[in-house]
């Protein structure tokens, strides 16, 4: 067992467990976005940044940092709150996240985080490059304008479904999640149509067809459930 403190509370974790996992067990809340139980951690969104006081105040992503003996972790402070809020604001500034016109309004992790972190406005100029909406799939659609590039769909597809249909194409602000070699989703030869990517998506970027504003409820927890039930190879 490894002993450490998070926000001054003494907690214990197993070797190999992450700061996030140990915090969760101890009932300490750390906001996350790209992390999803059942998928490998990516450390991409930086919302779970925590400060390790005895590492010179270094900021590390809680989801991808294994616990170490004697660590003094700060999970919640004014500094972290400000950083997390700034990260969220940049996500909102990058692409169009107008909740009122979104299928996921009211059931959206991005929206919930904004409320939790007190993000009442965005201090950065909106970029909002226009992206297309791909409705070529029979059951689902993808609206790149709502995508935060967390990669949960990419990992769900590769790690849980084993299809590896989704991948990132391009770079920077114009990065897109695309199927195979960039074909319309409906023409993908590897997509099984399982819909795990849709359930994993934290926003309204991936959605089931036929859902109107606010009607899309996701079940991201199914990824962990599916993984647990699977017999070990």
């Amino acid at each position: 067992m490894i002993t450490l403190t998070i926000d001054g509370i003494r907690v214990q974790g197993e070797e190999g467990e992450t700061v996030l996992q140990v915090a969760k067990k101890a009932g300490i809340r750390i906001p996350t976005l790209c992390y999803l139980e059942g998928l490998s951690p990516r450390g991409a969104c930086r919302l779970c940044l925590v400060e390790v006081r005895n590492w010179g105040g270094r900021l590390v992503p809680a989801c991808a940092t294994p616990v170490q003996e004697g660590m003094e972790v700060v999970a919640n402070s004014a500094r972290l709150q400000e950083l997390r809020r700034a990260i969220l604001e940049m996500l909102f500034a990058e692409r169009n996240h107008i909740c009122a016109f979104c299928v996921s309004n009211g059931h959206c992790e991005l929206q919930d985080l904004a409320a939790e972190l007190g993000m009442d406005h965005v201090r950065y100029p909106y970029r909002w490059l226009p992206f297309f909406v791909d409705l070529s799939h029979a059951k689902y659609g993808i609206d790149h304008n709502r995508c935060v590039l967390c990669g949960r769909c990419v990992r769900a597809c590769a790690e849980v479904e084993g299809a590896a249909t989704w991948g990132f194409s391009g770079r920077g602000i114009s990065t897109l999640v695309e199927a195979d070699l960039g074909e319309p989703w409906g023409q993908s030869k590897t997509c099984t149509g399982c819909g795990k990517c849709v359930q994993a998506c934290p926003t309204g970027a991936l959605f089931e067809k036929g859902k109107a504003t606010s009607e899309q409820v996701k079940r991201p927890e199914i990824l962990a459930e599916v993984k647990e039930r699977r017999p070990r190879a």
């Binding site: 990132f168 391009g170 195979d180 070699l181």
Partner: protein
């Protein structure tokens, strides 16, 4: 199977079954074909055992890889700091207009490919562009059009 796919299959043989050699394999294919069309990417994916989505990720991430054939001449307009200050944007938009292409595209007649560079290392001549191996400095919109017009 089409001739491109057959050729690519031959080229990637040394990397067969080695997903970690993806970039090497793509380099080899591009130096042989000049670019990486989708049919080539697909063969690379199958031969190395990498999902097509990942091959595309790598191909579109690195500026070095191109998915369309390059023109006979490559124009590189410098958009570095010094050139930016001295009007590189005006040179670039003049060339876009003259050649009727956007950045990264090739003219309809296959003569020019228009690209941007981040510094060509001769800021004293700003704004500059290179056409193939030749550097052209102290440009403005008019001069840029002239230079391009004189290339055979």
């Amino acid at each position: 199977m089409n001739p491109i796919a057959e050729r690519v299959q031959e080229l990637v043989k040394p990397y067969a079954g080695k997903p970690t050699e993806l970039i090497q394999a793509l380099h080899r294919v591009q130096s042989a074909l000049g670019y990486l069309p989708k049919e080539a990417q697909l063969v690379v994916a199958e031969a190395l055992g990498v999902p097509p989505s990942q091959v595309r990720g790598v191909v579109t991430f690195y500026h070095f890889f191109r998915t369309k054939p390059a023109g006979r001449h490559t124009i590189r307009v410098c958009l570095g700091t010094a050139c930016h200050v001295r009007g590189a944007e005006r040179v670039l938009s003049a060339l876009k207009e003259e050649l009727k292409v956007e950045l990264g595209e090739t003219t309809a007649d296959g003569k020019f490919t228009l690209e941007a560079a981040r510094c060509l290392g001769c800021c004293g001549l700003a704004p500059v562009m290179m056409i193939d191996e030749e550097v052209y400095g102290k440009l403005d919109a008019k001069r840029a059009r002239q230079v391009v017009g004189q290339i055979p």
